[in-house]
């Protein structure tokens, strides 16, 4: 109905018959007009398809021209990014509109193009889009999406007093039970034999220039603040934790051994897992070398009857690199103490 001005609408003054006739005539005119137009159209198209090879090649040349210009513009993006980043956004917008123009060109011509050409040009377009996309994400950094908790700053002042409150009540109102151990000794020989399963954990703390001999099995040993001591220990089923020791010699066997803040100490170890050091330096390691009557049975009980070689597999938590940590080394064989034989004082006294 888009064509031609409509004939004037019949007025009521005309007779019904004349009115109808006029309408009929108008309709005929319109139909013939349309017919003519359709004929013209199809003729034009026929002549088009007649030389389809030509128009295919003309399409291809147009297509490759625009493709080249888009390619060169894409290549320019990097330069623009360096010289004038603010222009990048509009540059990418232009590129994206030329790519969609190209897409429209393919779509318009697709009805006569061989299907191979359609496919290949669509592929080219999708490649161009992909390139644009990567350039875009590369040159214009996206804002990271994140949840921002605006309440954080508000909440802080309310939360703050709480920890203070329970820090003050903390340990002061709780009396620690005394655990078994040797504490605050100087220049003494401290001997203890663990019997049966009555022993849990044992503590050595604040010892200076002492010799400690613990025989038999126990579950866990804690050592802290030892200076110039010699510590000989029977097998520990659980773990040994050492903190703040200096100038000491340790002969230990355990499931796990952790050494913190040690300085100038020698460790003779048998460990089922890798021993670790943290904040330590000048510490040296060698294999376990303790001997006392019945040690074989105790070692077996603690699952330590076999040498694992782990004494030399030290992990330094302050040296997380592939090269050897400067904080520890293997104790040279000629400096090792050899087998240490600990006499069982208590049993000897009992026996004699």
């Amino acid at each position: 109905m888009e064509e031609g001005p409509e004939p004037n609408l019949p007025t009521k003054t005309l007779g019904l018959n004349a009115d109808l006739q006029k309408k009929h005539q108008a309709m005929l005119d319109r139909l013939s007009n349309r017919h003519q137009a359709r004929l013209d159209n199809s003729l034009a198209r026929r002549s088009d398809s007649g030389n389809s090879s030509e128009s295919t090649s003309s399409f291809l040349s147009r297509f490759s021209d625009s493709k080249q210009s888009i390619d060169s513009q894409l290549a320019d993006s990097r330069l623009i990014a360096q010289s004038d980043p603010s222009r990048l956004k509009s540059h990418f917008a232009n590129l994206s509109s030329s790519i969609s123009d190209l897409e429209i060109l393919v779509a318009e011509n697709s009805y006569f193009l061989p299907s191979y050409e359609v496919r290949s040009s669509l592929k080219t377009i999708s490649d161009l889009k992909q390139n644009l996309e990567t350039l875009n994400s590369e040159l214009i950094p996206k804002k990271k999406f994140s949840f921002k908790n605006k309440a954080t700053t508000k909440k802080e002042p309310i939360k703050e007093p709480e920890p203070l409150k329970y820090d003050t009540v903390s340990l002061s109102n709780f009396k620690m039970p005394d655990s078994p151990g040797f504490r605050n000794k100087t220049n003494e020989t401290l001997v203890k034999k663990f019997k049966g399963t009555d022993i849990g954990e044992f503590t050595l703390s604040d010892l200076d220039s002492c010799e400690v001999r613990l025989t038999g099995c126990c579950n866990a040993v804690f050592m802290n603040r030892l200076k110039n001591c010699k510590v000989y220990l029977g097998p520990v089923i659980g773990s040994i934790l050492i903190e703040e020791v200096e100038g000491c010699v340790f002969v230990l066997a355990s499931h796990q051994i952790r050494i913190h803040l040690a300085k100038k100490c020698d460790f003779y170890l048998r460990v089922r897992s890798r021993p670790i050091i943290e904040d330590s330096n000048v510490v040296r390691f060698a294999p376990y070398c303790l001997d006392y009557e019945g040690i074989e049975m105790d070692l077996q009980k603690a699952g330590l009857s076999e040498e694992t070689g782990n004494w030399a597999n030290v992990d330094d938590f302050k040296w997380l690199r592939a090269v050897q940590s400067p904080n520890w080394c293997v104790l040279p064989e000629n400096e090792r103490v050899g087998k240490v034989r600990v006499e069982d004082f208590e049993s000897r006294i009992e026996g004699s």
Binding site: P163, M176, E201, S239
Partner: protein, 185 residues
């Protein structure tokens, strides 16, 4: 709200939970995880970094993040806070000397915004060792009663060595998390 409900739906479908295990070094985190999973616990080295275990527990899949507790690497704990459904704080109940250290680290952890919604299970480990504090004593030392009232928490005595108490603790944790994110199904 919309995103949250989508996340909930996805999680509900897979019935997954993310559990973060933290605590001082030598508290027994790795041993607990291996024991629950029925693995050999006789050779465990102190954790340098972290371990992830995926365990099927009841009808849920637990992704357990076991993060090393040595002082040097405690500052990295924060990297694992995101999306934590359940928090397990492991205490060596026989290590009396470092209990205030333990309390301080726990207090810091609970101030963390990203963990504010997580259920908290405190495992008073090494109950098999003679001389270890009871769970009630640990609760007193850590002053758990003073904790934020909105926090879901429970303390359970356990022994990673014998396995005692572990299931009780994890049963509670899984049920509590499930009742929050799976709406009691």
């Amino acid at each position: 709200m919309g995103l949250l409900s989508i996340i909930r739906k996805i999680k509900r479908k897979e019935k997954e939970m993310r559990i973060l295990m933290v605590g001082l070094d030598n508290s027994g985190k790795t041993t607990i995880v291996l024991k629950i999973n029925g693995e050999d616990t006789s050779v465990i080295s102190p954790t340098l970094g972290f371990n992830i275990k995926t365990i099927t527990y009841q009808k849920y899949t637990l992704n357990i993040w076991d993060v090393g507790g040595q002082r040097t690497i405690r500052s990295y704990w924060r990297n694992y806070f995101e999306q934590t459904d359940g928090l397990v704080w492991v205490v060596d109940s026989s290590d009396l000397r470092r209990l205030d250290d333990c309390k301080m680290e726990l207090d810091n952890l609970l101030k963390e915004e990203r963990l504010s919604g997580a259920s908290l299970l405190i495992l008073a480990n090494k109950q098999d060792i003679k001389g270890a504090l009871t769970p009630a004593e640990i609760a007193k030392v850590l002053n758990l009663e003073a904790m934020d009232k909105t926090r879901h928490w429970k303390i359970v005595g356990c022994s990673a060595y014998t396995g005692e108490g572990l299931l009780e603790g994890f049963d509670w944790l899984v049920q509590d998390v499930a009742s929050r994110i799976y709406m009691l199904d």
